[in-house]
């Protein structure tokens, strides 16, 4: 919280998105708020991806990790502590978003809070560990930023967090099914709009959990303490292992399209509840 950049990206930006989404896309529609809040929550959670990858690379480049190496602390403890601290720093923003949605935008329903809590918890863990995997395979901040941007753009525009999944082109949807962000957004929308619980979101949660575990193990294995230590060539292959759960889920979804049908159902519900406005084109 002492870091202004962190404050901006972790608090100011997500809250800005809330006001933008609610103000522009919600247009005063209280029924639409749970759906829109789900997207904002997903964006907030996904921020863990950027935060931890940049932090780890920065600490390594500046030689900060080196000093920790002299102490009796393992790589897994270092990584776990960064994930946990990131979690506790993200939760206040989530709470504020719920509060503002209720108080300012008069959100009609709080959704299934237990389902939302589990999704957010697992979501933070998933994206945080994916960020750590990126930091484990890149050698410089520049390289990290480039890879982060590419992946972030995919998350942002192909997962349904900005452009709803139902209105993406079919070909793009096929790609979306392989992205972890797609299941986070869809799961949160299900919990907020349809009050879906843990049992209904089993496959999404299991994939996130699997991804978290694999990504954590991979980033521990590839962890480097020294600024000059370079990632071995096989590191990128190891990193690819982290997305295996979503690879399998993507193949399955391409065949059965459950996430798409859930998304269509939620999207249509919101569209139907929106007051007609001939002056403003539909999203």
């Amino acid at each position: 919280m002492r870091n202004r950049a962190f404050l901006f990206f972790s608090l100011v930006m997500p809250l800005s998105f809330l006001f933008i989404y609610a103000g522009i896309f919600g247009r005063g529609n209280r029924q639409a708020m749970p759906y829109l809040l789900a997207e904002v929550l997903a964006l907030t959670v996904m921020g863990s991806f950027w935060g931890l990858s940049v932090q780890l690379v920065t600490f390594r480049e500046q030689g900060i990790l080196r000093r920790f190496r002299v102490a009796p602390i393992s790589a897994s403890a270092m990584l776990a502590s960064s994930i946990i601290s990131n979690y506790f720093l993200t939760i206040p923003t989530v709470v504020i978003e719920f509060y503002l949605s209720r108080q300012v935008f008069h959100m009609s329903s709080m959704g299934n809070l237990l389902g939302v809590f589990v999704l957010i918890t697992l979501g933070i863990a998933t994206f945080a560990t994916l960020g750590l995997v990126i930091a484990s395979v890149t050698n410089t901040m520049q390289e990290t930023q480039i890879i982060n941007q590419i992946i972030w753009f995919a998350f942002l525009f192909l997962s349904g967090v900005t452009v709803p999944l139902p209105i993406l082109p079919k070909l793009v949807q096929k790609v979306s099914y392989f992205l972890p962000a797609t299941y986070l957004v869809s799961g949160l929308q299900q919990s907020m709009v349809d009050h879906a619980g843990i049992s209904e979101l089993g496959l999404d949660l299991a994939s996130m959990l699997g991804c978290t575990v694999i990504a954590f193990l991979v980033s521990t294995q590839l962890f480097r303490w020294e600024p000059e230590a370079k990632a071995p060539r096989r590191a990128k292959l190891w990193a690819a292992a982290a997305i295996v759960p979503f690879l399998l889920l993507g193949i399955w979804e391409n065949k059965y399209q459950h996430v798409l049908s859930r998304s269509i159902s939620d999207y249509q519900l919101i569209e139907q509840s929106s007051p007609p406005d001939p002056k403003t084109p539909a999203r």
């Binding site: 002492r2 870091n3 600490f59 500046q62 030689g63 900060i64 080196r66 000093r67 190496r69 002299v70 102490a71 009796p72 602390i73 303490w225 020294e226």
Partner: protein
């Protein structure tokens, strides 16, 4: 003699084409301050980082408190403390937070308040790391090295880049540690530091230990001579100064004569007699005992700072 706490045997280390260590061997007894003295690139930091477990040697054997730094893991790290050549911490970490955090890693630790007081950081307790001066950062690094009350402390260039005043403050701290009978291995390229603090010194150059002993032993063992700087009222051109008793070499530097003598009292007597005979007057006389730098110069033909 106390038992050896640090043992290094035929250590070698190569970085690409560069042979950083070419068979370094020495041992450090419990409770002593041992110095690795040498110019930049001599192999001092590579040696100490291998002892800290940060680097792996190519060959050779190292033992610290009976443990192998590369294999012993947490058990080894509980026994040592280290102030690295450059310690970096997050900019927004407060001083007391750094000590609290690093102290939390150990089952046995010294109190933060005690360390802040001891290292003169009480007023900076809540300051961010980025707000500290170079000397304060170094004092914090030393405090962190002692947070677990270690048996062995490694100090890699503890006063590099600091001004003389701050350097002396650090020397005072190290001398206090010496009184506590901590085993300290420090690396330095400052002669004064090695001569003032160290019980034993290993002079390192190009990856090898070229001399080893107490500072006194090194000076006595070597052929290093005492330098007598003489300034006279009238300069001489007949070369007689170089023939004075005990003088092995005579050089001129501006208006001064630099006499290198192995028998200082006889040289002084001969000088006085010579001046009387020549009806010349002595303007100034300075006697400088051989230093470790002179020994390094004698052994390598180079100055420590070349």
């Amino acid at each position: 003699m106390n038992p050896a706490v640090i043992e290094v045997e035929n250590l070698t280390k190569r970085y690409g084409d560069v042979e950083a260590l070419r068979g370094v061997s020495f041992s450090v007894s419990e409770g002593e301050v041992f110095g690795l003295l040498g110019p930049n690139g001599a192999g001092k930091t590579s040696t100490v980082e291998i002892l800290e477990g940060l680097r792996t040697p190519d060959s050779g054997r190292v033992s610290v408190c009976g443990l192998d730094p590369q294999r012993s893991g947490a058990e080894f790290k509980h026994e040592i403390g280290a102030a690295l050549q450059s310690t970096a911490l997050p900019d927004k970490m407060r001083v007391h937070e750094a000590l609290d955090l690093f102290g939390s890693f150990y089952p046995r630790r010294r109190g933060t308040a005690e360390l802040l007081k001891r290292f003169g950081l009480e007023e900076k307790r809540n300051a961010f790391y980025s707000q500290l001066s170079g000397g304060q950062k170094q004092r914090l690094a030393l405090a962190m090295a002692l947070v677990n009350d270690p048996r062995v402390v490694f100090l890699d260039e503890p006063t590099a880049g600091l001004d003389p005043q701050v350097r002396r403050e650090i020397y005072d701290i190290i001398e206090e540690l010496k009184k506590e009978r901590k085993t300290i291995l420090l690396t330095t390229h400052y002669i004064e530091e090695a001569e003032r603090l160290c019980d034993h010194v290993a002079i390192v150059d190009h990856g090898k230990v070229i001399a080893l002993g107490t500072p006194r032993e090194l000076k006595e063992r070597s052929g290093a001579v005492t330098r007598i700087t003489v300034r006279m009222a009238r300069p001489e051109t007949n070369g007689a100064m170089g023939t004075l008793e005990g003088v092995t070499e005579c050089r001129t530097e501006a208006d001064d004569y630099l006499l290198y003598s192995t028998r200082v009292p006889r040289t002084i007597v001969a000088l006085v007699k010579h001046l009387e005979e020549q009806n010349n007057e002595l303007v100034s006389l300075e006697i400088a005992a051989p230093s470790l730098e002179d020994i390094f110069l004698e052994l390598t033909g180079r100055r420590l700072r070349d």
